[in-house]
């Protein structure tokens, strides 16, 4: 009996690595500490009723952002471990197996569990406020999306201490990811972690399309929407068209591993190339899904801190939309070397180059918005300024990669690594940081400390160039991705040392950001108004943080940059249009709001149970998990009492408290 338990636990838990043992101990201690703190301060009920069951888009947004910052830490540690291993030739810091696991989890976590939730967090916090809505179209579904993401991410991260991490690369190409190449459970954690959170992402896409198309304040025509809302619409459209492909692809890989199917195997007529096509049909649109909202953020910030309306609004809209369409026709540029033939490669090379055109249009629009503007440079604007040259270089190296014949040289080299980090860090991460700094006061009612933010900014930026510029050169010198060690004679060491130093500078930058957040909370200084940056769109017209129902009266929109125009009219003493004035003085009415629900949390937890069962092939666990999911759906279907009205006196109290703080 004892031997059996010992044998089981040696398979179940990851053992034998001091790094992971340390992680296991610290995870255990953190969990105990969290439980003790919550119990000691009697916060369990608060946690459940105020957060876990909340359907408020602002709270869901905050939970997304907290998770994504934790994931940024985990993914960042992975990156530093890799850079340490590569700092010197033939270093024995990480074993080959461990190195494979780390580059796999680094990629998955950064894209799917850091960038995506940070983006969804900003969607949630900003979009309903920008369009003058009280919540998203489907608040219950929104909460479900978050918890699906949360439990998917938990399942994926669990593989670190239980069962072993996946190690077949972030996109898990077969046949390596098949049972023949990866017999362990790591790959199953990969499949189910991404599958569960991917279903949540799909639902978020639907939710925001309906919210934006159907719930805008009266008068806000499509071409009067703030640019961030436009970018969310284009990103969400791309989500609903791309994510079903991911769902199917992972499901087919799962069937290969679980049921012995032959979709992507080398025997039985399977076709591994098909997986690579399918995964990139999702994967390429995916990178646009995360970068389009960043473009929206930059547009908002450039216009606010130039005190000018956005240059080329319509061209910006067309650029966003054409990028989301063309992004579906470029997938094969990820594998020009597969041998699809000259004509196929030519098509995908040209479609890839075409994407550079709308992107260039955007860059010029941002530059012309700044031209002759009254510029100021707080942290959100600094990130925006830093983004432009960084993304331009990243884009141009992208065009180099899109030249199919030349790509045979660059393919899978460090040139590629430097290119996509430049677009993903210089574009997506800088963009989401800019957005986070910009809307932070709206979320919490206080600003982040500017001085520490500038330290973080410079460390990030200098660190970025020191880390990735040498990698372009290393690519030309023949260094390919996913090598865990190299020979001294290759002559790669000097540049690798420089690159590692840069990575650690970015690590220091992250510490500055943590310090910045802690410092700003410690020396809490309430923002006197809801309009921290002298903003232009509706979210700045209400108090910070926004009341639970957002707008006491539904705003009436008359122009682009509606709040800015209203402020201008007030400054000049011009009267409001009669129907606007009438709506603003109308008596308050009870507000229709959705009720909190525990079903999303419980249902996602059952998905987690089912996923864990699938990973270990434990039917006794899969069945109750799936039954739980179905029961939760039925419970929801039979629940009719899903909303309530906020009475007028409560609105009056809330508004008075918020205005009183001015």
């Amino acid at each position: 009996m004892w031997d059996k338990i010992k044998e089981f636990s040696s398979e179940f838990f990851v053992t034998g690595d001091p790094l992971i043992l340390g992680a296991q101990v610290s995870i255990g201690l953190t969990l105990v500490a969290v439980v003790l703190v919550l119990t000691y301060f009697k916060k369990w009920r608060w946690l459940w009723s105020e957060w876990l069951t909340s359907v408020d888009h602002k709270r869901i947004g905050i939970m997304y952002i907290i998770c994504s910052i934790l994931m940024l830490f985990r993914g960042g540690v992975d990156a530093l471990l890799m850079r340490t291993q590569l700092a010197a030739p033939e270093l024995e810091f990480l074993t080959a197996e461990h190195y494979n696991q780390i580059f796999t989890t680094h990629g998955v976590i950064m894209i799917l569990f850091m960038a995506m939730p940070l983006m969804f967090g900003l969607f949630n916090i900003v979009v309903p406020l920008q369009i003058g809505a009280r919540d998203v179209a489907f608040p219950f579904l929104n909460s479900l999306s978050f918890w699906m993401f949360f439990f998917g991410a938990m399942l994926f991260n669990l593989s670190f201490v239980i069962g072993g991490s996946p190690d077949a690369g972030w996109l898990a190409y077969p046949p390596l990811s098949e049972l023949s190449g990866s017999p362990g459970v790591g790959q199953d954690f990969y499949i189910w972690g991404i599958q569960i959170s991917g279903m949540g992402s799909l639902a978020t896409g639907i939710n925001f399309i309906v919210t934006i198309l159907k719930m805008r304040a009266p008068g806000m025509k499509l071409m009067k929407m703030p640019m961030f809302t436009w970018s969310v619409l284009s990103s969400s459209l791309t989500i609903i068209l791309a994510f079903p492909i991911l769902t199917v692809t992972l499901f087919l890989l799962f069937l290969d591993r679980y049921a012995g199917a032959h979709f992507f195997t080398l025997d039985g007529g399977g076709n591994p190339m098909m997986y690579i096509n399918l995964i990139w049909m999702w994967g390429h649109p995916e990178v646009y899904i995360v970068v389009l909202p960043a473009f929206g953020i930059f547009s908002e910030i450039v216009s606010t801190f130039s005190k000018k309306r956005l240059f080329g609004y319509s061209s910006m809209v067309y650029a966003l939309m054409s990028i989301s369409i063309v992004s579906f026709f470029t997938w094969a540029h990820h594998f020009f070397t597969m041998g699809s033939g000259a004509n196929v490669n030519a098509f995908f090379a040209v479609s890839t180059m075409i994407i550079a055109i709308p992107t260039g249009v955007k860059v010029f629009n941002w530059l012309f918005t700044m031209f002759r503007g009254k510029l100021s440079f707080p942290t959100p604007m600094m990130w925006t300024i830093a983004f432009i040259p960084c993304f331009v270089i990243g884009g141009m190296t992208g065009v180099m990669l899109s030249v199919a014949p030349a790509d045979f040289q660059y393919h899978n080299s460090y040139f590629l690594i430097a290119h996509f980090h430049q677009t993903l860090i210089g574009g997506v991460v800088f963009g989401f940081f800019a957005g986070l700094y910009y809307w932070w006061p709206k979320m919490f009612g206080f600003k982040l400390h500017e001085g520490l933010g500038k330290w973080a900014f410079w460390f990030w930026n200098i660190g970025f160039y020191v880390c990735f510029m040498p990698q372009y050169a290393l690519g030309f010198m023949g260094m390919t991705r996913r090598f865990n060690e190299y020979n001294f004679d290759m002559g790669w060491q000097p540049l690798n040392v420089v690159s590692t130093v840069g990575a650690f500078l970015m690590g220091i930058a992250f510490l500055f950001q943590v310090w910045q957040i802690a410092h700003s909370i410690r020396f809490y200084k309430k923002e006197p108004t809801g309009d921290t940056w002298n903003g232009r769109s509706l979210e700045w017209s209400i108090p910070s943080p926004a009341p639970m129902y957002n707008f006491a009266r539904t705003p009436i929109v008359t122009s682009r940059d509606d709040w800015w125009e209203k402020k201008e009219r007030r400054r000049k003493g011009e009267p409001e249009l009669p129907h606007v004035a009438k709506a603003e003085q109308a008596p308050l009415e009870p507000i229709h709001m959705p009720r909190n629900s525990g079903v999303p949390f419980v249902m996602s937890f059952f998905w987690f149970i089912a996923g864990f069962g699938f990973v270990w092939d434990w039917t006794w666990m899969v069945i109750p998990g799936l039954i739980g999911v179905i029961v939760c759906m039925l419970v929801r279907s039979f629940t009719y009492n899903t909303d309530y009205y906020v009475p007028v006196d409560e609105i009056e109290r809330t508004e008075a408290a918020a205005r009183g703080a001015h």
Binding site: R134, A137, F138, M215, P244, A261, H262, G268, P590, D643
Partner: protein
Amino acid sequence: MAQKKHKVAVAHGSPAAGGHHEHHGGHHDHGHHDQEELKTFGFWLFLITDVILFGTLFATFAVLRLNVAGGPTGGDLIELPGIIASTFILLTSSFTSGLALLSMNKGNKNGLIGWLIVTALLGASFIYLEATEFIHLVNEGANIGTSAYWSAFFTLVGTHGLHVSVGLVWMIALIIQLSKRGITPVTKRKVNIISLYWHFLDVVWIFVFTIVYLMGVM
């Protein structure tokens, strides 16, 4: 179109007058009515994602249709008469779900529930026939692991069958709700949505029948 959106947005922000602090299902007011319209629109978007899901499975089947790895082909084992019967059963169920909608729009609760029960029974017979076919194929020596062709076959046809089964559970839940609550704006929206779903599965089946069975077997 713009006019319509405008109206929706206004009504969403302004709940019906009167102090309904508690909202009871089935009570017809503006706030709720719009919620139903949003949900229907959201469901159309979901159907788009489901189109892509099936599209990917069809593409997979098309790529792998000849990869039998020396094993049996579809033409060797599949018996078409049963498939044609189940096709007509599913098409009829789409018709009866339409009749259910007509009854609903006339306010005839019993007719609505009756036609939904007929639809569900037809759906159940479709699933029964499909399960029988699968068992027959497995007994003949073709399962999901036999070859890439059979992996793609079972996954495509099985995913459609899974969708129909989910629809059955959903329809039964809806019949119970209708018998308890009658025809209200909320239950009306739910019936409309499930009938969209049901017709959609019918359309998908027509493609399955054409591509997998007619083109692949005959």
